[in-house]
Amino acid sequence: MKDIKKIEIIQRPPPPEPARRTNPLARVFDELVRFCQSRSMFMLHYCTGCGAIELPPAMTSRFDMERLGIQPMVTPRQADILLVTGYVSVKTLKRIILTYEQMPSPKYVIGICSCTVNGGMYWQSYATAKVLKDYIPVDVYIAGCMPRPEAVISGLRALMEDIRTGRGDAWKKYYQNYDFYLGNQQRLFGEKWQTPTDVIAEAHHYGMMTDQTLGEHTDLLEQNEVPLDALRTRLKARTE
């Protein structure tokens, strides 16, 4: 045991600065808006796994997340952060993806517990998805087999730091290379996998389309896509 050296934690090298708008007024405005976004995050009240038991103590009087501006919100429409806590069973992953797509962007995913990192304690199980990153983009991981509230809050502060400096844009990846994510999802759920949210139309509407957005998986989706309702049978964006 004696030969273990003192290993100091190496700070992550800051990744390249995101593009800033040229005129100073716009830059200050962006700075301000990002500061407000970082200081007011609505956490989705959705316990996907065992790790969620650590969130109430983080919210109540001892650790009080509200001083950081984080409030639990009930519907994905009002939420910014999706905390994926604990093991991600295949059935829950369907609901997680549905909820993630229903959240308005900019949205952030925090993978709490090591089960979302690489399968964790349940890595041998046939029923759990091992790597959350393949199915939805994840911003911050908080390791630990149920990290304590301090760890959860430090993870949230790291996310706040990312948002304030503009690095918290993992949500764009979901639109930019939707084909990769859809491929993984179809591999897990089968060819008939489809969510009511029209991600491609959204990508088109918000100008996030890249060449990786559409691919053979999205064509597969389009072929055997069950018409949602007589009102609008086809996914809108492809033609124009």
């Binding site: 301000l32 808006v33 009080d64 001083r67 429409r77 962007s105």
Partner: protein, 299 residues
């Protein structure tokens, strides 16, 4: 009252209402935190929330009526602020009196109800049916109070009501002359601000915050703005009717904050009532107190 002054007043009153309303929302969250022995949010938290909500990238809408609902919710209250006389600014108080103001407060509720209706979400529809039932419940004692005050001062012009009360000094306050009506109005205030015991239409665990279930981004931001206007209007209206309105801002502000603090503190100590219990409570004690108060006022 040249039209420039009027224009200035009409722009200044909603802005002031918004700022004071934000302060009231902050006070509510601080009171809640204090009661639960938490630290509570920082000073500018309401502003952070609203800026973040308005700066969301995707805004999910279910159709034009959904957007119209939010516009009516915010616009209805902006218009209602111009009818509320504040120290130094009377706005359009003489054009429409107390009864007009009650109807102006119903316009945002109906607007939001229409907007939520188009979201085609059952949670929203259940929430709206409860919100309208709650409105029916707390409006009856409130109307008894309004009649008592209007008959006592023989006018429905809010500026005049405030002036009459200020003429007699503290003893002339509505609360002193009509204590029972003031009590009944407190119940109605609790319902009007939609606070805890009477908040069954925003039951987060049961119907996912009821009407706000499909509101994201600027829709939710609009409802946050409406909430701040709602607190401000409730506080100022109660102050005008019972606490002698505002001579100057120094005495006016503590009064409206005190008035709004009472229901907020009560709210944090109570669980949520079911809808029929809410209606039963609102039609029992406040109505009795109001009618008794009316009897004193009438003779």
């Amino acid at each position: 009252m040249s039209w420039q002054e009027l224009l200035l007043e009409l722009t200044l009153m909603p802005l002031l209402a918004f700022v004071i309303g934000l302060a009231m929302v902050l006070m509510m969250r601080r009171i809640a935190a204090q009661i639960q022995r938490r630290v509570g949010p920082p000073l500018l938290q309401p502003i952070y929330d609203i800026v973040k909500l308005y700066s969301k990238q995707t805004q999910i809408s279910h159709g034009f009526i959904h957007e119209l609902g939010i516009m009516m919710a915010v616009g209805g209250y902006i218009a209602a602020e111009a009818l509320l006389p504040v120290p130094g600014m009377d706005g359009l108080a003489d054009k429409g009196g107390l009864i007009t103001l009650i109807y102006f407060l119903m316009v945002p509720t109906l607007g939001m109800a229409l907007g939520v209706g188009q979201c085609a979400n059952p949670n929203g529809s259940i929430g709206i049916s409860r919100a309208l039932t709650a409105m029916l419940a707390y409006d009856i004692p409130f109307v008894i109070v309004v009649f008592g005050v209007a008959f006592h001062y023989q006018t429905t012009n809010l500026a005049e009501i405030a002036a009459i009360q200020q003429a007699h000094g503290v003893s002339g306050w509505g609360m002193m002359e009509m204590p029972l009506l003031a009590l009944a109005a407190l119940f109605a205030l609790q319902g009007m601000m939609g606070k805890q015991p009477f908040e069954v239409y925003i039951a987060p665990a049961e119907i996912a915050t009821g009407p706000m279930v499909e509101m994201s981004g600027k829709f939710m931001g609009g409802l946050f703005v409406m909430q701040s206007f709602q607190y401000y209007t409730a506080g100022v209206l109660y102050t005008i009717l019972f606490l002698g309105g505002g001579e100057n801002w120094l005495t006016f502000l503590p009064k409206i904050f005190a008035v709004v603090a009472i229901p907020m503190t009560i709210a944090m100590l109570f669980p949520r009532f079911r809808t029929e219990d809410l209606v039963r409570l609102m039609w029992k004690w406040p109505v009795m107190a109001g009618l008794l108060g009316l009897a004193f006022v009438m003779n």
